[in-house]
Subunit: 221 residues, 2 copies
Amino acid sequence: MRSDVETKITSAEKSPRKERERQQHRQEILSAALRLFAEKDFHSVSMQEIAAAAEFATGTLYNFFSSKEELFFELLAATAEQGLGTILPALEGPDDERDKLSLFIRLHTRMAQEQAAALRLYLLESRGRCLPGPRVEAKKREIDERVIGPLSSVIAAGIRKGLFNDVDPLIAAKCLLATLESLILAAAGDPQADDLDAELKKVEAVFFNGFLKPSGGKRDA
Amino acid sequence: MRSDVETKITSAEKSPRKERERQQHRQEILSAALRLFAEKDFHSVSMQEIAAAAEFATGTLYNFFSSKEELFFELLAATAEQGLGTILPALEGPDDERDKLSLFIRLHTRMAQEQAAALRLYLLESRGRCLPGPRVEAKKREIDERVIGPLSSVIAAGIRKGLFNDVDPLIAAKCLLATLESLILAAAGDPQADDLDAELKKVEAVFFNGFLKPSGGKRDA
DNA sequence: CATTTTTATGAACATACATTCATAATATGG
DNA sequence: CCATATTATGAATGTATGTTCATAAAAATG
């Protein structure tokens, strides 16, 4: 090894290829873990199982992740970023607020198709806080904020422009998100092709027009 | 013991009081377990813990329940019945469909207050199918059906009477339920007094009127 | 009170599993 | 090729916990 200052650096810049290979192995482990966590919850997937699926020895996993919880955390963080990258763009840009919401809803179909396993991992574990640790819980809250914030902002903007009814933007955002998560998780259970797309169109109708016919004399609702 | 035919019956009709006492003990175990399962998920609560909380020995639990899973199942079934008893009546009777839905939504506040622990148990474990066994999963589906059925029927009736917009009744019911469950679970986390009641009123507004102002020229939504 | 039946006890058992570590394999580079 | 550093291995360890069972306490019986 060279006698320069780099000798101190134990594992970082050892060699471009070495590092790539390491990241490759890391990815293989994450990928195998994703497959398993998409089927079963945190407690029902063992490190031995993950190791076998990734074709590594049990102990090898600990060269990449300091614990099972950290492995899960990395997985959750990575898949969440992917998901956010798919749906958040719908809420940006100069479009009509109505169009933004419409696109936002429909992009969930794409997310459900392209990232089915990741979504299952996320929703399976994150709904109903049986999360494996405080760090994971915090990450979950952060992700939630990054969706609810922009979403309620768009709704608020629509209200200011007189485009939307005067609903509570935060509550409205929560309503929509809870619905989308629920339907996506159900669809991810038994994947019936593009049923989800049809369902989400109907969701759009429900949220855009609501239940009540405008004709009937409005009461205090 | 009497020499009659009853000698065959080992533990059923032994004596009125004995039987009452046994049911009392059973209830104490269930009650202790409920407290624990409302805080932590299935895997994080041990039989030893439940036994200690109920002030019985570990082995005693197995005189009442054949396994941890059965204990949980009984708990889930019992608490679910209680919950259904609170909210389902809103959907029966001769009322206006609009009033039924309104009452249905608001009864969730009462359920959240009166059966906070039971609700947490139910929602914590049931959302995102990390359920402890097929029997529990089946029960969960049954419960869901018994709410979604009547709810979508009421919506369908409202549509037929020209009171509601022509939404898909089943999808609409799922939207509403997912929203209610989500908000209730969030409120059960950090219980901020009667915030839930205010929130549910806003939910009512969202679902009744929808996002779009009727004034603006409707597009194809 | 003696006998028998029922119920409670909790230590012990078996299993599952996260994590560790001494060892082996492999790569590096001179 | 040798010496050294890096990475992979998987058997072993410790712990947690669901379940069992021989034993004890309690209650019922006559």
